[in-house]
Structures are given as C-alpha cells and as structure tokens.
C-alpha cells in the first residue's frame, strides 16, 4: 500500500506543477493585449469548470491513443487533473493579480519600466504571495482528485487499496486506512499552508 501512496504523491505533484504552468500561461493570455488569447483562456476555464473531472479523464484517456500515445494511464491522469486544476489556478491568479494595489503598477510605469519588467518584478511576486492560501487549497483539491485515476487503473493509493480488498476481503480496515492516509496528508498540506502564510505575512501585504 505504501507504493500506492508514493504513486499518489507523484501524481499530485506532477498534476499540481502542470496546473501551475497552465494556470500562469492562461492568466497571461487573459490579461494580454490579444482578444483571441482572452477568449481562449475564458473558454478553457469554462470548459474545465463546466464538466466533471471523471469525464475529462476518460476523454484524455481515450483520446491519447488517437494521437498515437498508447497505454499511458499515469500520463492521462496527470494531464486530465493538471488541465482541470489549471482552470482553477487561472481564476486564483487572476484574482490575486487584480488585488495587487493599482499604485504599484502606476509607480512602476512612472519609473519607466516596460510591461514585462513590471509584471516580472513588481506584480507577479506580490500576486504570488496573495494567492498562496488559495493555491494550497487547490493543491489539496488536486490530492483529493487523485483517487479518480483509479478508474483508469493508475496504481495510486485508492486503486492499490481496492486490489488488496479483492485479495483479502477486509474492506473496512483497508478503506479506513486509505481514508486516514488522505486525511493525514491533507492535514499536512494545511499546516504547510499556514506556515507559508506566516512566513510571508512579514511582507505586510
């Protein structure tokens, strides 16, 4: 079962990283000068939030072979969860960026910084700090989404649990252990989130 837990953590980390990358790109598109980028990003967010993750997972899982990639269920799960979470990360980053005081932007432009410089050195650092609490919540949601990968036979914690149950016929003990595993890791994430918030509160934002 420990192997299953390892795979769960791997899946969570990979999906979370992917969602951060996609979320950042998506937010950049939304706030860019290109109307097409805005429309693309909004459609992406709407699609991800308007459909169940299970269905998205199956679409990716059955769609990958059509692109020539066969038999990769871990990849399918990572892509599906990553893309789904990326939409929520987009919204989180969008809210954070819009909450950076306008004076920061004005001051940066007054000094003569270009748009790229302002974004990189003034806006994004502050936006990232503002978004930390919501991002850790989202990270926890990614963790809680990983059991869905068991329906495409990714050997994560829940799937491993069901395999053991099929062998030993002790659903109660196994499932309660599995549940406890998730609760423990979720609590760890919550503690990490609180620690991070305290560290960054020094910045007096």
């Amino acid at each position: 079962m420990l192997d299953g837990a390892v795979v769960t953590v791997e899946l969570t980390v990979c999906a979370a990283l992917l969602s951060l990358i996609i979320g950042t790109l998506s937010v950049a598109l939304q706030l860019s000068r290109f109307r097409a980028g805005y429309w693309l990003s909004r459609s992406y967010v709407s699609a991800m939030r308007g459909t169940p993750l299970l269905v998205q997972l199956f679409v990716v899982f059955f769609g990958l072979p059509l692109l020539g990639i066969k038999g990769q269920s871990f990849l399918a799960a990572t892509l599906a969860i990553g893309f789904n979470s990326g939409a929520f990360v987009t919204e989180i980053l969008r809210a954070a960026i819009l909450n950076v005081p306008a004076g920061q932007l004005e001051a940066a432009q007054a000094i003569g910084m270009s748009r790229a410089q302002t974004s990189r050195r003034v806006i994004m650092p502050q936006a990232l700090v503002l978004s930390l609490p919501a991002l850790t919540t989202e990270f926890t949601l990614v963790l809680k989404a990983t059991p869905l990968a068991s329906v495409v036979a990714v050997t994560e914690l829940t799937y491993t649990g069901t395999l053991i149950i099929a062998r030993t016929f002790h659903p109660t003990e196994i499932l309660l252990t599995v549940a406890a595993g998730y609760v423990v890791v979720a609590l760890a994430f919550t503690q990490l989130s609180r620690w991070l918030e305290q560290r960054f509160a020094i910045l007096h934002l």
Binding site: R49, T51, P52, T172, L176, A179
Partner: protein, 218 residues
C-alpha cells in the same frame, strides 16, 4: 466520427441526464437540510454537540469523495446496513457536501449585523420570529454565490456515482460505449451535455441571486 450513431444512442444518454438531475436536486436539498442541522448544532453553544460536528467536518473535508463513496458502499454492509448503490451514492453526496454547505451558511449568518437581531427583539419579536423574518432572508442572499459553486461541484461529483453502478449520465455513457465502441466521441459528447447542464444551472442561480437581493439594490 459517426454522428448518426451518436444520435441513435441519445435517448439512453438523456435518460442518464434525467437521473443525474434528479440525484443532484435530491443531493442539494437533503445536503442543505443536513447542513442546516449542523449549523444549528454548532450555534447551540453546547460542547457535546459542537465537538462531534467539528470532528465530522475536519474528517470529511480531508477525504476524497471517491474514498468516502467506497466506505459508504463497502464498509457499511459490514455493520449490517446493506445499502443499494443509489442510496449509498446519495448518502455519500450528502455526507460530503453538507459540511461545505454548513460552512457557507455559518459565514452568511455571521455576516448579518447584530443590530438586526437587537432591533427585532427591541420591537418585541420572539427569537424564532427574528430568525425567520429578519435574519434568514438576508442570509439567503449572502449564501447564494458560494452555494452556486458548491451546487455545481455536486452536479459534477454525481458522475462519480457511476463507479458504484448508479444509473446516471456517466454510467449511461459506458452503456453507449459498449454498443458503439467509440469511447472518445461518446465521452466528448457527454462532456458537452454536462457543460450545457451546468452552464444552465449557473445562469439560473445567478438570476436567482439577483432576485433574492432585489431588496438591497432597488
């Protein structure tokens, strides 16, 4: 992609959609009812009532809903309660979402200025009357935006019930795929159906939000 094949199987999918809508409505109504009870318990001030609620909330908030579903379906029979899939699924949805609903309700109730209660009591209204005629109407308007997100989440999570062979949209897609052997196309179509359903619900709830807060914006 054979669209004629899709249209032929549409009735099966629509039957699943009907069941999904029914399950979602039941889940929301019952979940909100349980949440109201949870909130009442938490505001009672009695520790022996509050502590179990907090424990239950913390435990459920940390658990994935699929794991909770397996527990309800596979573990409860061990203690003598044999539950059919639909009931197990509904119970899971309610167990999972009522803490979230309760947190939203608690926040909404706490956001009403205490002056409202004081004024109501000052003109001689009883406690229940104050709650029913002054607090709840205002709290309802505050609750709706976060509840919209939760309700949409519940509708999406109803798809998980397909793992327990509950007849709803996600389960019916597997039936259709068994007939058509076109998993990608069918799941894409079903994704669109879900998207239309959820967008409609979202728009409807936003209208409801505006109607409920008319008193504030007239």
């Amino acid at each position: 992609m054979d669209w004629q094949l899709m249209f032929d199987n549409l009735p099966l999918l629509l039957e699943g959609l009907e069941r999904t809508i029914a399950i979602s409505i039941a889940g929301v109504v019952l979940g909100a009812a349980v949440a109201a009870i949870l909130v009442a318990l938490q505001r009672s001030g009695r520790r022996w009532l509050i502590v179990p609620v907090r424990v239950y909330t913390e435990v459920v908030l940390g658990m994935p809903n699929l794991v909770l579903l397996y527990i309800v379906f596979y573990v409860l029979p061990g203690v003598g309660l044999l539950i059919e899939p639909l009931a197990a699924g509904l119970i899971t949805l309610i167990l999972y979402y009522s803490p979230y609903f309760a947190e939203v309700m608690r926040g909404a109730l706490a956001a009403i200025p205490a002056g409202q209660i004081e004024a109501g009591r000052a003109v001689g209204m009883s406690r229940p009357a104050v709650m029913w005629r002054i607090i709840l109407p205002q709290a309802f308007g505050l609750m709706l935006p976060p509840m919209t997100n939760l309700i949409i989440g519940l509708i999406k999570d109803s798809s998980i019930l397909s793992v327990i062979s509950v007849v709803e949209l996600a389960f019916q897609t597997k039936q259709v795929i068994a007939r058509t052997y076109a998993p990608f196309e069918v799941y894409l179509l079903v994704a669109i159906i879900y998207w239309v359903l959820i967008s409609t619900v979202a728009v409807g709830l936003r209208r409801a939000e505006r109607w409920v807060t008319l008193y504030r914006r007239a």
